[in-house]
């Protein structure tokens, strides 16, 4: 041990001892643990009962298929979203209960039911999980799935690295979840406060958990961004020139450029925290020549671009959904691309607005105030372009479109309040206030809405059937209501001067607003139930909602040119791209033949368990470091190095799918192809409004085996 620690330490178990097993003595955690343990047992039992272990291992855990990896990213994201939501409920409940000096206290708290130590962990976990382990994996997963198909590639540039990124993110998420039961989590906000996170003020393992989980996911995400950029730059199908690139791919490129450039800075910011805590250096200490503001500087150099890392794919999703459901070309394609990159570029020069109040010179604050406002220009342009995409279109209000429109309206609110925050003198009034919280939740909800829209939109592409609409609409409307009830009072409280991260609200005047927020949380809870119903009903009735390649009938880009669900090799023959919105162009010209037979052998990477095992070792490495179990740390490091070297000697990493197998797969898929494509009715052929059937629902199949094929496919 290099640094003075509070509490005991032993060579075998580090700082770990019985007392640290929080689920044994904290009442809330006892129940949580019971529930989690039951769910886990149920899952294991179900897999065993159905004999799916082999399938799970062969088809999912060891896969290098970008679509499956993307799906697993999304599953991690959804699970963590649930956990983050549970945290949010707990925070809201505490703030609803602990108002005024006369409010009662329970379970060791003076007011409400959570002590400062616990609520500190909860809001830290909420922020961290929502940003790093929910929003990021969801978007990374979507990009992983869609981008290679959109550019007409068979896979990512580095399928093996892709899987490693997934398992690193998974390891980080597992570490955060583990902190619930063993030890505790950081209790000072998701982005960390220095010097509060130094050993003298945060002596427990919470900060270490936070740091290593963050670090793992950061490594995972930057590996992913390298992969995606290389894929887009190097693996586009022939004819896919830059100005024919689908807009979501453009958005993914700009967003991954942001990740590529900014994540290293986060790693440094966190590594320096680690050195302060583990080696006793003085990067961020208040004394001994450290500078605590250096942490804020480095963190937000990453942190602000990270915000756009999340929002740009959301914009990309909206730019895909809105044209499809407006049955019209995207307005101002070039402008949209420029705006995406402008947002990405400006994001690198705005970070000081996260610490406007640190007493920087007024000239400095002026500079950052202006650069921050500059972000409003490309964002405003995007909003106008979406509106003009709908203009002269035929807007269909299906679920994806509804989510996109919700995202659009939330973006207007979030954009306006963002401009208010960028105005530095306003920010002085509410810098650490609830107003800022409400603002960025608006933006995060833009992201969430787009993600839900994207899930609705691309689900049929991946699984071959559409999600049902009734429960989905209930889900949608309860999300809208919940958002109103939670965040309108929150904005008002922001103007009231309420600040963030309070365990106890001293002013009873704020009570009514907090109660209203609790109503909103109830509505969100209901929305969650509707979401589950939505999934359940969709899965149950999947046979009746099978779709063909072009699931919505008005798809425009390349991903609608292959079967739903997409075969492992994406395209039997790599498409040759002739136009922007290739599929729309083909439909316009009656070239809807999905593939003309005449198959060729396809080279694909082989499945491998190495990334999963590496991810597991990274997890044990982080766990060992967190608890300062040095032998585990050393062992894991050695295992990682050896595995990487040994794997590099493996030459048997590829396989070839012979043409007859491709043909068999294609035949099987074509059984499910939609009549629409078979009839080959081009969407715009009719000319005048109303005569062309741009969108047709599949006829309900009689025997549940899917629609009959046109035979040609």
């Amino acid at each position: 041990m290099l640094v003075h620690l509070q509490g005991s330490w032993s060579p075998a178990l580090g700082r770990l001892c019985m007392k640290q097993l929080a689920f044994l003595h904290v009442p809330i955690l006892e129940y949580t643990f019971a529930v989690v343990a039951l769910l886990g047992l149920a899952a294991v039992g179900a897999v065993t009962y159905f004999g799916k272990w082999k399938y799970l291992w062969r088809e999912w855990l060891t896969t290098v298929d970008h679509k499956r990896i993307g799906i697993m990213y999304i599953i991690i994201g959804l699970v963590m979203l649930l956990r983050g939501f549970a945290d949010a409920v707990m925070i809201r409940l505490q703030q609803d209960m602990a108002i005024g000096p006369h409010s009662p206290g329970y379970m060791g708290a003076v007011h409400g039911y959570l002590t400062p130590f616990h609520i500190g962990q909860i809001f830290s976990a909420h922020g961290m999980i929502m940003i790093v382990f929910a929003a990021t994996p969801l978007l990374v997963g979507l990009m992983n799935i869609i981008v290679p198909i959109q550019i007409g590639a068979r896979d990512m540039a580095y399928p093996y690295l892709n899987a490693l990124g997934l398992w690193l993110t998974g390891g980080g998420a597992a570490l955060v979840m583990l902190s619930l039961f063993i030890g505790n989590f950081a209790h000072g906000g998701w982005y960390g406060f220095l010097p509060y996170f130094e050993l003298p003020y945060s002596p427990g393992v919470g900060v270490d958990y936070w740091m290593w989980a963050f670090q793992l996911s950061a490594i995972g995400t930057s590996l992913g961004s390298i992969n995606l950029i290389a894929t887009i730059v190097k693996m586009r199908a022939p004819g896919m020139t830059w100005m024919r690139l689908p807009i979501f791919t453009w958005a993914s490129l700009s967003t991954n450029l942001i990740a590529l450039t900014s994540f290293p800075v986060l790693m440094v910011a966190l590594a320096l925290v680690g050195m302060d805590r583990y080696l006793g250096t003085h990067f961020y200490t208040a004394g001994m020549g450290g500078n605590l503001m250096l942490y804020n500087d480095l963190f937000w150099i990453w942190g602000h671009p990270e915000v756009y890392f999340l929002i740009l794919p959301a914009f990309g999703i909206m730019s895909e959904i809105i044209p499809t459901f407006s049955e019209k070309t995207l307005f101002g394609y070039a402008t949209m691309v420029i705006a995406s990159f402008a947002i990405g570029g400006v994001s690198w020069g705005v970070w000081l607005h996260h610490f406007f109040t640190m007493a920087a010179a007024p000239s400095v604050n002026s500079f950052y105030s202006i650069t921050t406002m500059l972000v409003g220009i490309p964002t405003g342009v995007k909003i106008f372009n979406w509106i003009f995409t709908m203009y002269r279109g035929r807007v269909r209000f299906e679920l994806p479109m509804m989510w996109a429109l919700l995202a659009l309206s939330l973006l207007i609110v979030g954009g306006m309040t963002g401009m208010m925050n960028a105005f530095a003198s306003n920010d002085y009034m509410w810098h650490n206030g609830i107003f800022v919280v409400a603002h960025f939740h608006m933006m995060v909800l833009v992201i969430a809405s787009s993600i839900f829209g994207a899930v609705e939109y691309w689900f049929p592409k991946l699984f071959g059937f559409k999600l049902e609409q009734k429960w989905g609409k209930w889900f949608f409307w309860f999300m809208v209501l919940g958002t109103g009830f939670v965040f309108v009072p929150m904005f008002i409280l922001g103007l009231a001067g309420m600040t963030r991260r309070l365990d106890y609200i001293p002013y009873t005047a704020w009570g009514p607003y907090l109660h209203l927020e609790m109503v909103g949380i109830g509505l969100y809870g209901a929305a969650l139930l509707f979401f589950l119903a939505h999934l359940y009903v969709s899965l149950r009735d999947r046979e009746s909602r099978r779709v063909g390649a072009d699931a919505w009938g008005t798809g425009r880009s390349v991903e609608w040119m292959t079967h739903s669900p997409v075969p492992s090799y994406n395209f039997a023959l790599i498409p040759h791209i002739n136009a922007r919105d290739e599929w729309a162009w083909r439909k316009d010209n009656g070239l809807t033949e999905l593939h003309p037979g005449d198959y060729e052998p396809i080279h694909m990477p082989k499945n491998t368990g190495v990334p999963l095992v590496l991810g597991a070792f990274f997890f044990t490495l982080a766990f060992g470091l967190t608890w300062r179990i040095w032998w585990l740390t050393a062992l894991s490091t050695a295992a990682i190095v050896i595995m990487i070297i040994v794997r590099s000697f493996d030459t048997d990493t590829d396989m070839t799918i012979p043409p007859n197998e491709v043909e068999r797969t294609e035949k099987r898929r074509s059984d499910r192809a939609s009549d629409f494509i078979a009839t080959g009715v081009p969407p715009y052929a009719g000319g005048p409004v109303g005569t062309a059937t741009a969108y047709q629902r599949l006829p309900e199949p009689a025997g549940g085996t899917g629609a009959s094929s046109g035979g040609r496919l």
Binding site: V3, H4, G349
Partner: protein, 130 residues
């Protein structure tokens, strides 16, 4: 997928290697670094040293990235060069804006440059280290 048939040694990334440029790079770099060292040892005014060494360092880096990292506009290297150019402003922004901000911050928030030893009451110094 591809290149299985092609000889990897014929790839442009391999044939880009050039003994002459590598040797030239070595000679130029060593010479420039020697000059920089001599400038420092010459006892020039600190600010001048700062300017001159920065200039020499910048020049060396540009020469090296051209000669040994092959950042040119040839077909094989175009994307390398392009992505490097994308990063350069970010390096400048990261270091430059940070320096600017903190230069002001030190002036505004530091009472005195405390150069003296650690406080006897300090818990956070070597006393607390094992």
């Amino acid at each position: 997928m591809s290149g299985h048939a092609a000889n990897p040694l014929h790839h442009p990334e391999v044939s880009i290697a050039n003994g002459k440029t590598y040797l030239a790079n070595f000679v130029i770099s060593v010479a420039l670094m020697t000059v920089a060292l001599l400038v420092v040892l010459s006892g020039m005014a600190p600010f001048d040293v700062f300017l001159v060494t920065t200039a020499i360092g910048g020049l060396t880096v540009i020469i090296q990235s051209y000669l040994i990292l092959h950042t040119d506009t040839s077909r094989g290297q175009f994307w390398h060069t392009f992505s490097l150019l994308l990063f350069v402003p970010l390096f400048i922004v990261t270091i430059g804006l940070t320096a600017w901000m903190f230069h002001g911050l030190y002036q505004r928030t530091m009472i005195m440059p405390a150069r003296s030893g650690a406080s006897p009451m300090s818990l956070h110094t070597r006393a607390g280290t094992r």
